[in-house]
């Protein structure tokens, strides 16, 4: 059985007199040491999907259906105390903004030691040793001195490294990373990605990487899940999905990237924009923007299915022309 | 769809309807303001008309007590005026002073705040230090000194004619720093936003940027402090009148009513002081509750979009 299994997850947000549904029956799973990428644009529900694993959905949002099985226990049914045992211990979280994790008035060392002592019976000296080791593991120079630093004394890239070190402190089995490099510069982003990839491989840690950047996902993850308007539209091995996307949305996303177009020519674009949660079109939510749309697409919501490992939620999946990524400008 | 219907279907109205305290406060304020506004129509007698007043009617208790008379619902004051009418007319004066004093405060404060925030530098330093100095003196202290000087200078008769204007001026000028500081703070936040740069790139003049772009975006905090400042101005007026520096006895505001009844409270005529006090407290409390509610509703939105 998979380490983490999410089944039929539905999340809703009561807002004023309406209730908005952010997730519609999302299923996915993660094996031990596997790296999964969740891709989508803002409003696709990718962060909601990942946050609901740890029951971190901000009020008044709530999980209305479905279960999150971690090692056989349903996390949605746990009380707060039991959830704290999982959160930041067996499953860690890395946010886009390092300052979400770091407390600006405490030194790095204090925060790391406190975090360890919260989850384990351990002496201060031992906690300190483990902390320094973890800082070294994320390639922070002169780790001992850095323990005495405050977060604001570090650069953005260093702060994100510290956050990764904190995430690794308790030897978690899964790390959930929400856009961990979006706020960083390209060169720093590359360094952090290399580091995360190496750490996950070496420690056999599972990774759920949430991002809008297809290129980053293609480099780091083994499996990919593409979301649109609160549903999974395509899922499969990263190489297959990137090289040979089956859903018109995934296809459009990849074809819209400047590097997949002839320089100077018009870019292939997806018309329109992601619908807001209170105005999701009937049938397939992508139908107003889809180039292969026909009458059938307005009738029923297409299920996620397919013969191989690559699953596609599109009734015309056999009709969509596939393309090979290496040829530019198709 | 008209702007009217969109307003009634908005989230703002929805949240308002769900908040019982806000709804009750609004009802109280509206009833009080309307009855003050239409006092000449509602009030049984005109307390300013000396011919209707009979000194023989003085100090009659309210209707529900044993000695009450049908003619006077809330009893009469020591001069024989009908309490209900006097309270309605007095509230009219209190609200007028509160409203115009706040208008003056807002005018001064918003202009100064806009200039300080947008121009910055020395202009800003000058006005903000001035505000600091003014805030370090109590409003009431300044008002008492100013009004006492005026009263001595003009003589009691002329003063009683000019009292409303004097109170508006004194309370208005004394409290501008509240506005100036709030407006300045939001101007500082707004002026670094890109839409202000966009306006500069178009070649718009400073004055136009301030009035057309920045000012409308500082309206929400102005609205919030305005409600609370109206309450404050009414309290200030009441306090000054209570001290004998406000409205004269022949044209009483709520404050001078309370004051004039105060000396009779130990002789058993409690209603002369207590009833106007209850009205004043109800008015101030409802305005403040409304202001709190407005702040809660407007503030998060203000910074979200």
């Amino acid at each position: 059985m998979a380490l983490l299994e999410v089944k039929g997850l539905e999340v809703e947000f009561p807002l004023g007199r309406k209730t908005l549904q952010a997730l519609h029956g999302v299923d996915f799973s993660l094996d031990r040491g596997e790296r999964l990428g969740i891709v989508g644009e803002s409003g696709a529900g990718k962060s909601v999907a990942a946050f609901s694993i740890l029951n971190l959905i901000s009020r008044p949002g709530r999980i209305s259906e479905g279960e999150v099985l971690f090692d056989g226990t349903d996390l949605t049914r746990l009380d707060d105390a039991a959830m704290r045992e999982i959160r930041g211990n067996k499953i860690s979280m890395i946010f886009q903004d390092p300052m979400m994790t770091l407390n600006p008035v405490l030194t790095i060392g204090t925060q790391m030691i406190e975090c360890l002592q919260a989850h384990r019976e351990i002496s201060k000296e031992d906690a300190r040793k483990i902390s320094i080791d973890k800082l070294k593991e994320v390639m922070i120079p002169s780790a001992e001195n850095r323990m005495e630093s405050y977060p604001h004394e570090l650069s953005g890239g260093m702060r994100q490294r510290v956050v990764i070190a904190i995430a690794l402190l308790t030897d978690p089995s899964i790390i959930i990373a929400d856009e961990p490099t979006t706020a960083l510069d390209v060169t720093i982003q590359a360094e952090i990605m290399v580091l995360m990839l190496a750490l996950c491989k070496n420690n056999n840690v599972g990774l759920i990487l949430i991002t809008h950047d297809l290129a980053v996902v293609s480099q780091v993850t083994e499996r990919i899940m593409v979301m649109y308007a609160g549903r999974v539209v395509e899922q499969g091995p990263t190489r297959e999905v990137i090289q040979n996307p089956g859903h018109p949305y995934t296809r459009g996303l990849i074809k819209a990237l400047p590097q997949e177009n002839i320089p100077g020519a018009r870019l292939n674009q997806i018309p329109g924009s992601m619908p807001s949660l209170d105005a999701i079109p009937a049938g397939c939510a992508f139908n107003p923007r889809c180039e292969f749309v026909d009458l059938e697409c307005h009738n029923a919501i297409p299920p996620l299915c397919g013969e191989g490992e690559q699953k596609i939620a599109c009734i015309h999946r056999d009709r969509i022309p596939r393309f090979n990524l290496s040829e530019k400008g198709i | 769809m008209s702007a009217f219907t969109t307003f009634f279907q908005s989230d703002f109205v929805f949240r308002f309807k769900r908040d019982k305290v806000a709804v009750i406060s609004l009802i109280v304020v509206v009833v009080l303001v309307l009855s003050a506004l239409f006092a000449p129509l509602i009030a049984p007698t005109n307390p300013y008309d000396l011919t209707t007043i009979d000194i023989m009617d003085s100090e009659i208790p309210p209707i529900w007590t044993e000695e009450g008379e049908d003619r006077f619902l809330l009893g009469t004051d020591p001069q024989g005026r009908d309490m209900l009418s006097t309270i309605l007319y007095g509230m009219r004066i209190s609200l007028t002073i509160g409203f115009f004093a706040v208008l003056l405060q807002a005018f001064l404060g918003v202009s100064i705040g806009l200039l300080s925030g947008y121009i910055g530098g020395r202009v800003d330093a000058f006005f903000m230090r001035l505000a600091d100095i003014q805030l370090s003196l109590s409003t009431l202290m300044v008002a008492i000194i100013a009004l006492a000087v005026f009263q001595a200078g003009f003589g009691a008769e002329l003063y009683s004619d000019l009292a409303i204007i004097m109170l508006v001026l004194v309370i208005g000028i004394a409290e501008w720093p509240q506005y100036a500081r709030t407006v300045r703070a939001s101007v500082l936040a707004e002026k670094h936003k890109e839409y202000v740069d966009a306006a500069r790139v178009i070649g718009m003049s400073r004055r136009r940027i301030m009035v057309r772009h920045i000012l409308p975006n500082t309206l929400s905090p102005i609205l919030v402090i305005s409600t609370i400042q109206v309450a404050n101005a009414i309290i200030s007026e009441a306090a000054l009148s209570f001290l004998g520096l406000g409205m004269p006895v022949n044209k009483p505001s709520l404050g001078s009513l309370i004051s004039s009844g105060f000396e009779f409270i130990f002789s058993g005529s409690w209603w002369i002081t207590v009833i106007p006090s209850i009205v004043l407290v109800a008015l101030i409390l409802s305005i403040n509750l409304l202001g709190d509610w407005l702040r809660d509703v407007l503030n998060p939105k203000l910074y979200k979009d």
């Binding site: 644009e41 297809l214 480099q219 996303l253 997949e260 100077g264 018009r266 997806i270 | 178009i202 718009m204």
Partner: protein, 327 residues
């Protein structure tokens, strides 16, 4: 480069912030955002400025637009100096030079309808236009950026990021400018929307014969969009060339590192040139070449002397290693 002439000339521009502690205000540390930047944008170019955060690219854009004056140096437009003009004298140039901003959520006044926003430039610069002409112009521009002209009476919060950014482009086009500065116009947008907005900008360039100064941190956009590119690092231009030659053969060590860091879809795993050291800030600039603390090939000379931007084959670079051919 044949038959071109410089439309915008940036000559030895420097910009420092802070420092001036006046009466009753505290002294702030000096930040040198731009150090001796010289470059010229030819008519018809799509000139891209690339660099990481804090490299001064946005400051340069804002200095060109007159949003803050340069501390030293000159800016010329069409042969005439514009950085020392009064607001009144500058009006002639505001008609020709416009700007598109990064954040579509902050660059439109939330209290003004789309029509009010778009009419504003005409009211200031073309007071003689009749109401009907103004309305027609607004409709024409709205259509040209792919927005429905019927949206005029709505407020910005009713639109998505991409639609807002197109309104922002429409505002810049209202006065039929020749030159547009675009400060990271797509970095706040979603992937599928980025392509739409880039297309609108490219169409506008074709239809209206525009010249762009395009600021971005995304090299893949530069490769697609730009005709020329200047790579900036800590307020200094370190490489300047035509886009094709820069991507074919990057010379400056920083450009090389930057290019290798672009995540590629077809790559297995991440592969990039490593840079050493910590990123310095513009508050205390390194001596000599600003890049030397992170440069993998830096030598003694780089720590002492500041390299100048020199012609080098088909590109200009500011690097001793390239000049003396030790890389």
């Amino acid at each position: 480069m044949t038959g071109t002439f410089p439309l915008v000339d940036i000559k030895n521009v420097e910009k420092r912030f802070g420092g001036s502690g006046g009466f009753l205000s505290t002294r702030q540390p000096i930040v040198s955002a731009l150090n001796n930047v010289t470059l010229s944008v030819q008519k018809g170019n799509a000139f891209c400025l690339v660099g990481e955060s804090g490299c001064g690219k946005s400051t340069l854009a804002r200095t060109v637009m007159g949003l803050h004056p340069p501390s030293r140096g000159e800016i010329h437009y069409d042969g005439k100096r514009i950085d020392d003009l009064s607001q009144r004298d500058r009006q002639v140039y505001t008609r020709k030079m416009q700007m598109i901003f990064q954040n579509p959520y902050a660059s439109l006044n939330p209290r003004m309808t789309v029509r009010q926003t778009l009419e504003e430039p005409l009211k200031i610069h073309r007071p003689g236009m009749s109401k009907l002409e103004v309305r027609d112009k607004v409709e024409e521009v709205m259509r040209s950026v792919g927005n429905d002209p019927a949206w005029g009476d709505r407020y910005p919060h009713e639109f998505s990021g991409g639609q807002r950014q197109r309104i922002s482009i429409a505002r810049a086009l209202m006065l039929d400018p020749e030159f547009i500065v675009a400060d990271e116009p797509i970095s706040a947008l979603d992937v599928s929307i980025q392509a739409q907005v880039l297309n609108v900008m490219m169409d506008a360039q074709e239809d209206r014969d525009l010249t762009y100064l395009f600021i971005t941190h995304d090299l893949s956009v530069v490769e697609h969009f730009g005709s020329h590119v200047a790579v900036m690092y800590l307020g200094t231009v370190c490489e300047l060339s035509e886009t094709k030659s820069l991507f074919a053969a990057p010379r400056h060590p920083y450009t090389r590192a930057l290019l290798s860091a672009i995540p590629k879809m077809d790559a297995k795993g991440v592969d990039h040139l490593k840079m050493t050291g910590e990123v310095p800030t513009a508050m205390d600039l390194p001596t000599g070449c600003v890049f030397h603390p992170r440069c993998p090939v830096a030598r003694e000379r780089c720590k002492r002397e500041v390299p100048e931007l020199k012609e080098n084959g088909d590109t200009k670079t500011a690097c001793f290693a390239v000049e003396e051919a030790w890389i």
